[in-house]
Every structure is written in structure tokens, then in C-alpha cells.
Amino acid sequence: MNHKQVQELQDVVIRFSGDSGDGMQLTGTLFSDTSALMGNGISTFPDYPAEIRAPQGTVAGVSGFQVHFGARRIINPGDYCDVLVAMNPAALKANRKWLKANATVIVDGDSLTEANFRKAGFKTDDPVAELGLEGYNLVVPDITSMTREALKELELDNKSVVKCKNMFALGICFYLFQRPEDHAKSYLDSKFARKNPLIAEANKRAIDAGYNFAANTHQFANTYTVPTAPLEKGTYRSINGNVATAWGLMAAAEKAGLPLFCGSYPITPATVILEELAKHKELGVKTVQAEDEIAGICTAIGAAFAGNFAVTTTSGPGLSLKSEALGLAVMGELPLVVVDVQRGGPSTGLPTKTEQSDLQQALYGRNGECPVVVIAASTPGDCFRFAFEAGKIAMEHMTPVILLTDGFIANGSQPWRIPQMSDYPAICPPIVEPHPEGEAFMPYTRDARHVRGWAFPGKAGLEHRIGGLEKDHLKGCISYDPSNHQEMVRTRAAKVAAVVEDLPRQEVFGETQGDLLVIGWGGTRGHLQSAVEALQEEGKRISLCHLNYINPLPDGVREILQGFRRIVVCELNEGQMAGYLRQHFQEFRFEQYNKCEGLPFTTVELTSEFNRLLEE
């Protein structure tokens, strides 16, 4: 009965959207994990409001999850979508601007009611005309009533039945893109089967019903396959940036042979790191959910003093609260990793939206001359590597390290090739061994890299006092001596600067000479690389210099800058990295491309800007 055509696609973007209570995050995750298991390249972008249940049916309450999958390695979640699943008129309205030409739009027909049009702010009862959707492949199945029909034999209340409509929509997409249902079903079993097997069964039936509906009707002209991507050989898993960060920290603790201690306070979008660390007591991880952000970092500083690998995790407003204590860790020369998952600011700002506007806070947001190491991760997967490196630098150089990620890579997920821990280097902190009796221990003596020893309480002969007052350069006791203060200010700066010896030389993506050098840092890498790659394929003389090590900057940046006619610094703020680079490289002219919309760049806007700069 089925004579539809199967068409092969290289690259597809699907956006699932609905009310924030409609389960769109789960729907998107199940679709992307299924596709990852099939061997596609994947990148995802959850986009949701801060309210757990924003007013139902309103545009403000729309929660979205975008999945970009393809027959190659995918490095960004896609700008515009090929398929939009909209569970209500508000979702349709909110995502209208993200449709590709000829996109397929699947809307729950049952949701097209006058009340819902009103809530979503439609002026008429004709969303197609009002949003200009003529010419799109519009499919309007009655998802809610068909879900109800499919589950009528189960003894479930209406509310639980209606909650399964997202799985009906998932079933439609599984059919459309020829995905197997088994991963989603086994997930539902593991999530619900023990607590409420009926709910698991209902959700599984809804997937089947959606799948069968799509197969049996003629609403979809084609189905599609997306071949597997030629990914690097190895064992993969799906991982998001926050989990990768947590695991990277745990890996650093393992390599250092020290217990991991995390003192933190819940804050969006960083909370998942604390939640993940709290799970892994089997690896000896200790977590303290502190009474506030300040206690989060202060418990971590105490743990570092006592000889644990100590971390605290937060987002922008929390970093503000931790500033004073961070200065104490600088003064005490204790190893500490502070993870800042950046979000839109200032103040409470946009808690669930991404931005890169904490850079200058990370670099300078403390009283006094107070340098810390600042590094930034650039993809969900490399959060693991940079969290590991943050720990390695902190412990080996006895300094606080701020690791910047952002809401985009923290929540986004990708297939991640599982590393072997044997490929990661050992971490060798300068732990001081017990001291012979009668010999004075000098806690602030240091090695050639200006690094002092880490002397834990509990070790004989190492009793010493440190604190936030200026320290004598050897004994660590209080010193108000003018020349000692000058020496200590410069020593602390030199210690951070010396970290450069451990950093890889800065790389450039593309030729080392050309017309335009794009500079980016942190979580914008996927979009910048896609845009630059596209223009390189067109023969344009454009390259990308993407920074992960920010303070200190790695060697080789100046040499890269010298090779280009124009330089543009692209970042999701109003020019914080550009200002920093101007301070370091005064002989160059840095142009800027900035965005503060709470959203990632699109490759479309980037390529258009780069073309403009190239043609000028």
C-alpha cells in the first residue's frame, strides 16, 4: 500500500516546539540520540524559557529543541529548519522565522482553536495567511485526538493521555526519517517502567500510533534517509557540555590521585554540573550544596587548603558573588577551578539564553591586582578536555582557573568519541612532603615557574598560616613591607603568565595568510567554523583563529594576526575579546561583529558579514 519515494538527504534540521510543559526537550533528545546511534553526525540546541511552566499557549512559553543531523560531522545545530513540529499556534508563531524555504511544517490540528489563537496573539483565525505559510509543506494531523484514540484502551486519566502527544509527533518524525523506535522505547521503559509501567506503555503506543499514522496516510510525499557520517573510528556516546564538564573535572581528580570536592549553589544553566557530580559518589566525588554562591566557593577553598581537588560551578551572577573569595584563592595561591556557564546578563538577565558577556568579569572582576587563568571550551564534547586542563593547570600551578562555557554548549549535545584516560597526561601537583622536625617550613618558597608548594594540614612539620592579608614572600605571614607587596604583586602575575609554557601554540584554521582573519573564542566555534569553511570552499581567502586559552594567551597569536589584510572579532557580547586583544596587540586593527540576542550566531549572518568585509 505504500508507494512513497525514499529520498536520500545529506543534512537535515528538525525543530520540535511546543508549550514548555509539552515535553519537547525529551522529544528532541530521543530523536537526536536515535540518530546518533544510527551513525549520523549530530548537533543539538535546546531553546527554552526560564519559567518551568510559562503561561500555557503563549509565545513566551514556547520551548524548542533543534536537532541538526547529517551524513557528515555536524558542528553546529543549524540556523533554519527543514521540519518544524509545532504543538500549538504559539509554537508556530514563535518559530516562523526559523523555517527554510519549502520546509515541512507539522502542526497539531487539535490545537488550532480560537482560544489558542488568542493566547498566541494572532489577529485572525487563519495562521497560514497571517504568518505567510503558503508555499510551505503544511501537514495538520489531529495529534491530540489521535493520541487519545490510540490510548483509549489503557485506563489512564485524560491528563496523562494528552501528555503522550509529544511521542505521537516523535513517531511521525521517526517514520519520516526512517528511524528505528527501539532506543526511544527502551528509554521510556527505563524511565517509567518501575514507577508507572502504564505511562511507559502509553508513551510507547503513542510512538507507534504516530509512526503508523504517517505511514498510512498520504500526507507525506516522501520519506528520507540520511546516510551515516564518516566519523572517526571509535566508541561514541552522546554527551552535553555540562556532563562533559563534570566528567572532565572527575578525570582531572583521577589523574592527580586526589579526591574531587565540589562546593556549589544551583543556578541556571550550570546546575547540571553539580547534579552530575553529586551522582558519582562511586568515584569518591564529594559535593556540598552550599547555602549560597559565596559558601560554594568558600567550601571549595577550604577543601583546596585541606588537599582536595576543589571546584565550584556557577553562572554569571554567581561569579559576581564569588569575586571576593576568588581573590582569597589568588592570595592563598590555592588550586581551584571555577566553572562559569555564561548566560545573558547583566543581573538576572536571560537565565536560559546564551551569551559570552562574562569574559571581562572573568579576567578583571576582582579588587586589587588579581590575575587568574581563564580558558574557554568551544563544543559540548571539548568541555571534557578543557575541564581536565583547567584542573591540571590549577593544581600544577597553584592558581585559580576560570573555565568559561556557555548555555549553548552546556545544554547542546553531540556524539562524542570516548577518550582513553591513558591518552591524557598525568597531573603532578607540587605536594609538599612532611618536613623534618626543627627545620622551619617556608610555605611561600617557589620553583622556577613561581609555583609554591601545596602543604596540606595533617602532614607533620608543615604547620603554617596563610590568609587574605598580603603575605611575606617566604614565610607567608602578614607583611606590610612596601617592597614585599610590590614583589608579591609581580610574582602572582608572573606565575599566571608562566602557564603559557604549558599551552599548545595557537592554531589557525585555514591558510596562514589571507584577506580576512576571523577571531572567535569559546562556544561560537561551530558556527564560525561552518561559515569560514563555506567561504573557503568558494575560494575566499579567509581563515579562523579560535581561542580557547585566554589568559595567558598562547604563543603564536601575533604571528597569525600579521598574515591578514583585515581582522574581525566575532563574539556574543559587545566586544569584550576585541578590547582585550587591542590591549595586547596594539599594532593591529580589530573590527567587530557582535550579537546580544540571547541566541547563537547563525552561519547565514556570519557568511553575509564575512562577504561584506571581503568585498569592501
Partner: protein, 343 residues
Amino acid sequence: MAAYNYTPADFKSDQEVKWCPGCGDHAILNAVQRAMPEVADTLDTPHNRFVFISGIGCSSRFIYYMKTFGFHTIHGRANAVATGVKVANPDLSVWVCTGDGDSLAIGGNHFIHAIRRNVDLNCLLFNNEIYGLTKGQYSPTTKLGKITKTSPYGTIEKPFNPGELVIGAKGTFFARTIDAEVELTKQCLVAAARHKGMSVVECLVNCVIFNNRTHADFAADKATRAERTILLRHGEKMLFGAANDKGLVRENGRLKVVTVGQEGYTLDRILTHDAHERDTSLHLMLAAMKYPDFPVAVGVIRDVEDEYVYDGKVGEQVAEVQKANPIRTMDELLHSGETWTIG
């Protein structure tokens, strides 16, 4: 019981003590250095396991004068830093030196949460009812109406009574001592060290410069101290007075001062102190007693055993999870759950 045979000199650092002459902190330092050898032996804790953590203020300079591990942190945060130290290494004997400004104003949050979690810390709360290091501003314990530099017309804020705060927060240990009573301070410190969980010892100290004689009504004169304070000892009658003939009884739910042998009050009617009672009501009343209506209670007012000691529970939970979950390395974790192979 170990025998380390330490002396107070083993706990004295080489730093010159820089508190003002006549400051009550000198006497507390003396008591602490005298208590440490006994604590070391009683709890089998060698010298290198003592850690002193402080915040900011005159009292927080304390740690520089102790020849132990010490960390002079930032204003208000000593209890939070100390919580991290104790959770990171529960074998350490962790002491917090803090003041009424440090722990009851800027650090109030960390103070009550350390009590709530019942972290095994020993917190010495130096209460001089004033900000001394910043030169004389009123604190959360300054008496109502007191004229200070920031209250030139008298304070209009009611003070905290630290004992009520600690016991009200279901603290498991609270003791009070007076700077001049070095032996009593020492006894309170040893009891605090023995207690598993958060121990708060309020030290009533005199600031000779900015709040001289703030506790003087009942504490200054050794001769009248017996009449105006009551030393509470677990299991003993609540008696006081130079002739030990006054006592506390409870009538209509309230405490009352009586004289034994007068108005029909016999010794039997006098309350017996039970520091181990879990119910907080009598301990609260005892901690709240103010001179001249009542004698001020000193000694160990509350000392309640509680199995929920935070740092211990952290370790227990790790051990329990390790029993149930066989994963021991990152490699095992990385390959756990759903994975797939390419190539």
C-alpha cells in the same frame, strides 16, 4: 587516650600578639593554648591535625598566634571555609575563630547553616558587642540604645543573643564563657572538642577601647561574679551565689530565682541541669537569662548527641554508593550506559 605530652608552648607561634593591652582576646588565646594538649590526648589528635580558620575582625587574627595550620580568610566566611576543610579531611580537628560581626552579621548565613548541617567544627564566637577592628561601630549583639560611631543617637536595633540563635537553630552544642575565666574557658573548649557536631562556644570578651565594660555588670568583678552568673554543669543542681544558696526553679513554665530554705524552697525543688536533653525549651530559657533579673548562664548549656554529623555522613554515603556501584575508574564510567562503535 593518647599521651602526646604537648605543652601550651607547642601551640604558640613565633608571631608577636598584636591585640590591644587589656583586650579579652589575650585570655582566650591563653585558654586555647592550654586546652590543646588535653584535646590532643583526649581525642588522639596529633599536633599536625589541628587547623584554625578565621574570618575578619580582631578575633580573627587569632590564627596567626597558634602554631598550627591556620587560614585567615575573608569577612564572614570562616564557617564556610571550615566546612570545606572538614568535609575534605574529616580527620582534622577544625577550629573556627570568629566574632559577633563576622558570624552574626556578614556571615550569619554560613553560621546558621553550619549549625543546621551539624558539621563537626568547634566555633569560638568572640562576643564583644562591637566592631573593634573598624574602630567602634555597633554590631548585631550591641545593646539596644548604645551610642557608637554609627549610632550617635543610640542604636535602634534589637540585638541577637547568640545562645538563643544557636539553640533556636537546633544547634547540638552551646557553651558560654567569660574572658577572665581561663579555666572555665578551657573546660568549655575541651567539651566542645569532645562533642561530635557543630560546637559553638560564646566567649564574652571585653573590648577595652571601643566597648569597655560591656559585660561588666555581671562579669567584671570576681567577687560579684558568683552572685551574677551561674555555672551550669550537667547532672548538677542549678545553684549559684557566693554561699551557693541561690538556685533556679521552674514555675508556670518560667524560670525563677529562689533562695534555698526560704519561702518553702528546698534543694529538691532546684532544677538539675541536663545538657543532653534534646528538647530545646529549657536550654533556650537558660541561654536567654540576663542580669539583673537572672544570673547569666555560663558553662556547657547544651551538649546533645546527634548521629547526623555532616562530614561523617558525606563519607558514609560515598562508602554506601561504592558498595552498590562497581565503577571505580573514569574509563569504566566513560564506557558505561549507551555507547556505539564506528569503524
